[in-house]
């Protein structure tokens, strides 16, 4: 705005010469400066001072890495909040009062066993619906549609159980063979064996969440599978190769796109120089590509990337295993659920 702030900017740029690049516009320079101010500013100044003494023209370069964010999408819908459960239950009883009454004779022929069974059940539960408990929208008590505290009629599991019991009793009442009891298999539970054992290598864990593949290097730190991009290789090819070399080929995966969804820059405290080319390496930048697993399982037995362990973790669990800087860079590219 004013000459004063311009002067201040100039002062800042003089104080932090490492950030200033003539090819970058001023606002970008400021954001870059702000970003590295907290964490990497001392390291950056140090690298520039050393490079200025030896080779003032060549800046230390970053190695480009391709990373794979391999995820298993949620398999089931999320659990409902208590408020949502009671809301849906309220809507069901309200619908009893608003919709037309059930036209029984359109669906059940008079005098058939199914018709007799239906009449018996209506006397019992006083409404055509099976999942709203004892409630009649047509009598004088129809206004009293609220559940008491602790009632389980609004639980989805209870409603499914009511449907199954009704189907079983109908099958038993209308079948000719009275000796045999009809058993309808219950749906699989939402909590699996792997959930109970907390088996973090299993893909059957946390069915309503997205799971991400995390690998552990021989040194012991956890990361997404990543490796340097070789010459003449695109980012996506490198990501596919990384996945095959780290987690094996026994997986049916699908790369979502050709562009990275996020990136992370690793700045070591001291810039190392490459032994062969004598070019200083400032650190590494990892560009993450998104991928989905359809079938199969990760297998590190034949990996060539110095990995020793893997885990399938949800977003919250990732933060416990990853380095703080790494996690803060990747957390926004992961799905919330």
């Amino acid at each position: 705005m004013s000459s004063g702030s311009n002067g201040a900017r100039r002062m800042v740029s003089l104080l932090r010469p490492s950030i200033v690049d003539p090819g970058v516009c001023r606002s970008c320079q400021e954001t870059l400066g702000r970003r590295s101010y907290a964490s990497a500013a001392p390291a950056a100044t140090e690298t520039t001072s050393t490079s200025a003494s030896t080779t003032p023209v060549v800046k230390p370069a970053y190695t480009i890495n391709a990373g794979v964010v391999l995820s298993r999408p949620p398999q089931i819908t999320r659990d409902l909040e208590p408020f949502e459960k009671s809301y849906y239950f309220y809507q069901k009883r309200l619908n009893e009062r608003l919709a037309l009454p059930f036209t029984k004779y359109f669906y059940f022929k008079r005098g058939t066993p199914a018709d007799e069974d239906w009449k018996k059940k209506i006397l019992e539960r006083r409404t055509a619906a099976r999942d709203i408990g004892k409630y009649n929208a047509y009598d004088s008590e129809a206004w009293n549609d609220e559940l008491l505290l602790g009632a389980k009629e609004s639980e989805p599991e209870h409603q499914v159980e009511m449907l199954l019991q009704d189907a079983e009793s109908t099958a038993n009442a209308t079948s000719q063979d009275t000796s045999k009891k009809e058993e309808i298999p219950r749906p699989f539970p939402r909590v699996t064996e792997a959930d109970k054992k907390n088996d973090q290598k299993s893909l059957d864990r946390l069915l309503s969440r997205t799971l991400y593949l995390l690998v552990q290097s021989k040194e012991g730190h956890w990361k997404f599978p990543s490796s340097p991009v070789e010459s003449g290789e695109t980012l996506r090819l490198a990501a596919e190769r990384t996945l095959a070399q780290s987690a094996g080929v026994n997986m049916n995966t699908w790369m979502v796109g050709y562009h990275p969804v996020g990136w992370h820059a690793y700045n070591p405290p001291r810039a190392k120089s490459d032994k062969q080319t004598e070019v200083e390496v400032a650190g590494s930048k990892i560009f993450f590509l998104k991928s989905r697993i359809m079938a199969g399982q990760a297998d590190l037995s034949v990996n060539t990337q110095n990995l020793k362990d893997f885990k399938w973790l949800s977003k919250e669990e990732l933060s416990k295993y990853l380095n703080t800087q790494y996690y803060s860079n990747i957390k926004n590219m992961l799905a919330d659920r």
Partner: protein, 178 residues
Amino acid sequence: MSMHTSLRRTAATITNSTTTILPRLPTQPTATTFICSQCRHATLLRRPKRPYTFTQLITLSDGSTFTHRTTSPAPIYRSTRDTRNSLLWNPSSSKLMNVEDDEAGRLAAFRARFGRGYDVNTPAEPVDPKDAAAVKEKEAAAKAQADAEQEEEDNLLDLISSFGQNEAPPPEKKPFKK
């Protein structure tokens, strides 16, 4: 521009025509829809014409379930064919692959008699060492057959070349029966 002027002209004509319409005579019938703007008595609020809906549990062929609202009074619907057991949606599923199991040996008998020309898919290349041995055997058989055919051809050539020179040699038995 021409569009503009024409539109304007039509609008102008409409306004002209509306001004010339005479007011309605009181003997003409009024609108059929009854709008009660003045009456104050309580009216019956009719139920909307919405059919009664039940909650139904759908079980897909792989056992996954979900509930939905439907007019059908059946509490459970079990589907036999859906995306979960269709090969189109599960290209990597080995369960759905067209693997033929020949328990009675009828398929093998058919193939022994008529060959594999009727197969929908070409037989896959064997990978096992046992199968590799079978391939070698088959190659050897093919070579033997080729040799036999060559010999037969030679015999025929002999027959042609020797025709009319002297009495025909007694017809040899074919060394390999096809």
